[in-house]
Symmetry: C2
Subunit: 244 residues, 2 copies
DNA sequence: CGTGGTGTTGACATAAATCAAATACAGTGG
DNA sequence: CCACTGTATTTGATTTATGTCAACACCACG
């Protein structure tokens, strides 16, 4: 109970596998080292080899890459329950940079503790890796969106996807959700200019599909919106786990 | 020797870790089930849960997603030495579709055999997973390119990246490489129209940077091209392995 | 010799970027 | 309380990159 209270990760994993007491205990121990970061300060620098990962427990983060010309491409957003830097810890591979969008709370996870946890509870390891794999699938979906959808559909798709992910941790539903992103964040994620993002948001609002305003996303016609955005839950709805 | 002759994978992995005789033997056994596929016919259907992966030994493949409106986004190309469907085998997750670009040869790898191999030789498992992780990094780089680079830089970057990957398996260098892709493939990978791809290729050719013609890519000024494309090898040049 | 896939080029249409400027608003220091 | 600052949003005018449509050349292949 108290565990669930401070761990959206547990909530998320529970949606897919029933966690045993032992597994809950292991997860709980992974949450020992609580840390906070303030909005705007980057957490992990591009190329920095990570000895440490984080489990985000509250707030939003984005992972991004900066190009030589200074433009930024946001690769993904992380919401409570998501891992930050999991792959770079497991594979010592350099990754993108992370920046907290608001002040956040996260649990610091040392490589050794994570590997211990994985060794103790393979089922848990599988669940975590599977969730991470889902995140990768979303990056692919972003790629498809940026390459082949127009601005309006891209925006609609992103807002829907964030809604689905938030729903998994109880922070949103088909009505909408609170969202601390600025229009600049959306622009950098969608490969658009901030000005154009603003116009697109207006169009979506005026056509009665969705409103993004004052830190809140409100779906006005969820069915029509999913239709319009060609939003396919399949790549999120993985059923039937996992490692053989 | 005979192993190396038919396995670009071994060549690729050898660039990062010195493989023992035992490990080479395990790899060799993974290559037992030789199969061929003809160009154009898809291999793995979008959403099909994979019981089987492939190690590509000759030819080119692309992985892609088709959208509701029929447009296609190529997510990545696979060249000899690359795995196809590794993630879907390990995590039973649905993935993209695969299509051979030319007639190809591949070794079929059953899930159970792969897991056995991983259990026998953890170092090999690490090397393979690390190579796979490198591929994921390239998908991210594509995302950045499509989102934030103009068509010319995107094209230049893709051609350079393919060159680097081919060099790892001895199929290309800083002079150029053979490339069976059509301009349609390039268009679908870069999120452009085929017509525009043609124009961009002309520009690159006329500015003396690179020529793509008759199934061959020729770099005319490698240094200037990497500069122009903001091509950073860092995301390919992972040094210092791997799993702790 | 047709025929279909591929490449090439031109004319035109359009989505999105860029430039510019006004507004709103929260925080900050006087 | 107020002026001041910076950030976020909004909107219009214009430019630019890229897509779409159309036509033709080339070539391997049946």
């Amino acid at each position: 109970m108290t565990v669930e209270a401070h761990s959206p990760l547990i909530r998320k994993l529970s949606a897919f596998v029933a966690l045993s007491e032992a597994e809950l205990g292991v997860l709980d121990r992974l949450h020992r080292r609580r840390r906070t970061f303030v909005a705007g300060r980057y957490m992990v620098h591009q190329g920095q080899s990570g000895q440490v990962a984080y489990i985000l427990s509250s707030g939003w983060v984005c992972s991004y890459k900066i190009q030589a010309d200074g433009t930024r491409q946001i690769v993904d957003f992380q919401i409570p329950g998501d891992f930050l830097g999991l792959r770079s810890v497991l594979l010592r591979t350099s990754d993108h940079s992370f920046e907290p969008i608001v002040n956040i709370e996260a649990a610091e996870v040392l490589t050794s503790n994570l590997l211990d946890a994985f060794a103790q509870t393979p089922r848990l390891a599988t669940a975590i890796l599977w969730a991470a794999s889902r995140d990768e699938a979303m990056v692919v979906e972003h790629l498809v969106g940026i390459g082949r959808r127009d601005a309006e559909a891209r925006m609609a798709h992103l807002l829907l996807e964030l809604g689905s992910r938030l729903a998994l941790v109880g922070m949103g539903g088909k009505k909408g959700y609170d969202c601390p992103l600025t229009q600049y964040h959306l622009a950098d994620a969608l490969g658009l200019s901030a000005v154009h993002v603003n116009r697109i948001l207006r169009q979506l609002r005026e056509s009665g599909l969705v409103t993004f305003r004052d830190g809140h996303v409100a779906f006005h016609d969820y069915g029509r919106l999913t239709d319009f955005a060609d939003f396919d839950l399949e790549y999120l709805d993985q059923t039937g786990p996992l490692l053989a």
